[in-house]
Amino acid sequence: MTGAITSLRTWKRPPVLLKDPRWRWTILLGSAIYLVLAISSVEVNWFRVYEGLERGWKFIQGFLSPDFNSRWRDIQAGLIESLTMTLTSTVAGVLISVPIGLGAARNLAPLPMYTICRSIITLSRSFQEIIIAILLVAMFGFGPFAGFLTLTFASIGFLSKLLAEDIEDCDSAQIEAIRATGADWWQVVNYAVQSQVMPRLIGLSLYRLDINFRESSVIGIVGAGGVGATLNTAIDRYEYDSAGAILIIIIAIVLVVEYSSSYIRRWVQ
């Protein structure tokens, strides 16, 4: 009667991750200890938070009834700076990252070239836009020019890395076929690599345009121009209706850029 005994066993769902129970318990215990330590080290002044709730409510009201008019000149100036910075830095970033991306692709570049280009990429990717902006503002003075340089520098790392990975993923048969016709390096790049990579490059550039706009609304906080400076001032003056207006404009522009870029990407690919 073994059948009856086995049918009494109830089914227990197997764990999806971490099959070993010892690992599971160690990680669980470790995270619990960490959480207790972390939460106990966060000092919160609940009285201040309670006081702030009223201001938070005012902000939500400001967000729901935004005031576009009273600070419109500042907002407009900030937006123009942000938008122009976004476009010029993306174009400059693409122009510089194409040669670096070519140099960082192992199937096209010799080893010394590859190492140099990869180190440029690592350097550009390891620091955040804000930190670069702080340094560049100190060097070039306040204003959108420092912001332009910041965004260009950040775009180079992003675009060249992804471009280089794309070039390395290229179909090598096509490269070989073009090379077999006696084409030199430039012709190989132009006829075999470019036609494979171009749609992706356009997609990446549009994606970066999107990111650059988002970042351009932030780096103004450290003085690099753009709508971030206007927003910072509005919040500092407790003008929540103007701040709400700026945030709504930022969200709207991000939405427009995101939708149009996904539309263009679908059209290109």
Binding site: V42, R48, R55, G141, I221, I251, L255
Partner: protein, 269 residues
């Protein structure tokens, strides 16, 4: 040489394609030049020309780093880690229900609830965590809590977007199989959907945690605690040799967190 009129020479593109491309590039260049002029209208070129001198000046002040300052950084570093981790935790906890409400195959109402969930995702995603921090510092006062909530609010959109895309891509036949056993709605989610999206979920969370570590290092610039607070005070006292130490600590933290996140994602995906 007699050339046959019927022989066509091979061309890369048709004349019409050439024209279209030429027009596209022309407008892009024109727009870029226009934006460039608009952007650099107020740029003081004397400051830009002065940049190399400024750079060498700052470089001279940054080196040698003041290593003794490192001892004052351990507490802010711990705070930064806590901001990132607790912020990610809050973000993830809120993002899970939002993702289930936003995914087309699990949302209770496609016309009412789904747009609302998508709106939450867009709002959270388009506003940078530094701007969230700026707002929260004004509302609930400076300190770690503002940073944690800022990181949390920013993470909701990111995690929810990637998670709802993962939920939409699940294998429907498994859902059907579980439903055929007579399972209720919650049981279908528990037994058919969660096991399928769990690896993606851990991958997304760790990825976001990695990004949050980067972002939390600078939140202090606007008063939200952590390493950025030290950065702000060092910058305002022009103590560039301390700034170098902070930059190096940030760089080390970012490298370590990237390594951890890469390892964990390798393990779960």
């Amino acid at each position: 040489m007699i050339t046959n009129a019927n022989t066509q020479t091979w061309q890369f593109r048709t004349p019409k394609q050439y024209m279209l491309r030429w027009a596209g590039w022309f407008w892009l260049v024109a727009l870029t030049v226009f934006c460039w002029n608009l952007m650099t209208e107020d740029t003081i070129w004397a400051f830009v020309a002065d940049a190399p001198r400024q750079a060498s000046d700052i470089g001279g002040r940054m080196l040698p780093p003041r290593w003794g300052y490192l001892n004052e950084l351990w507490q802010p570093l711990w705070d930064t880690l806590n901001i990132a981790t607790l912020g990610t935790l809050i973000g993830v906890i809120i993002a899970i229900p939002v993702a289930f409400l936003a995914a087309e195959n699990t949302t209770p109402s496609r016309h009412f609830v789904r747009p609302l969930a998508l709106l939450i995702i867009v709002t959270s995603r388009s506003i940078n965590s530094l701007i969230w921090a700026l707002l929260l510092v004004a509302i609930i006062g400076p300190g770690l809590l503002a940073g944690i909530v800022a990181i949390g609010l920013r993470s909701i959109g990111f995690v929810a977007k990637l998670l709802y895309e993962a939920i939409e891509e699940i294998d429907e036949s498994q859902v059907e199989a579980v439903r055929a056993t007579g399972a209720s709605g919650t049981q279908v989610i528990d037994y058919a959907i969660i096991p399928q999206v769990l690896p993606a979920f851990w991958g997304i969370s760790v990825f976001r945690w990695d990004i949050n570590i980067r972002e939390s290092t600078i939140l202090g610039l606007v008063g939200a605690g952590g390493l950025g607070l030290q950065l702000q005070s060092s910058l305002s006292t022009l103590a560039w040799n301390q700034v170098t130490v902070i930059f190096l600590v940030i760089l080390a933290t970012v490298v370590v967190s990237e390594w951890v996140s890469a390892k964990v994602r390798q393990a779960v995906l």
